[in-house]
Symmetry: C2
Subunit: 122 residues, 2 copies
């Protein structure tokens, strides 16, 4: 499906390369996963997100458990060929907690809090 | 500036955690970098993107070379606390090749090419 000759630099991270999933329509960043050579080849061949699962230590098609596969609209490799952006259209929740995105824990910005409490005092 | 008590899981990748930089206004994904504990603490304290540079094997404020720092608007940690999304407003080019994004190498989609050539034949 995608050009299977595209090579990545797997040397910097013990055979892995990070991939970022971004929703192709909402532009929301959904998750970060990793591919090894085998997962990368499967991703290119099938057009479905296929990751190396570090916890399981094996390659797995994303959504294989519940058939909520993640179809890839566009792939862009970075300047150094050591990270990948996948623009995707998920058929179901991307996060294993059931939500559309894995990025669910905002870090509090104390500067903004400070500004707010200053305003409250005024 | 940001809550400095927020912990990440550095155990899965030899002390590193991937961070995704997304432009807070255009929503474009700009690059993937890595933080170690020290770079993470500096990022939270200063609100400026600070990375562990794997090629240099040291912590560096992004843009320190040419004072084009990358200011962070919002930080979101993922469900497993092993990746980070930084919504940023860069003051200059993010890519060391001089462009606004590191994701500059689209992978050809042979399916779309095939569709096009079928249409050409018809």
């Amino acid at each position: 499906m995608f050009d299977e000759r595209v090579a990545l630099d797997f040397s910097k991270l013990n055979g892995l390369v990070p991939v970022v999933l971004q929703h192709s329509e909402t532009r929301e960043v959904l998750m970060v996963g990793f591919v090894n050579q085998e997962a990368w080849e499967e991703t290119l061949r099938t057009g479905l997100v296929t990751l190396f699962r570090r916890t399981l230590q094996r390659v797995q098609v994303k959504g294989a458990d519940d058939e909520s596969y993640v179809r890839i609209e566009r792939i862009v490799v970075d300047c150094d060929e050591d990270s990948v952006l996948l623009e995707v259209l998920p058929e179901g929740p991307v996060c294993h907690f059931g939500g559309p995105t894995c990025f669910i824990k905002p870090v509090e910005n104390s500067h903004f809090s400070q500004v707010r409490s200053d305003t409250d005092k005024a």
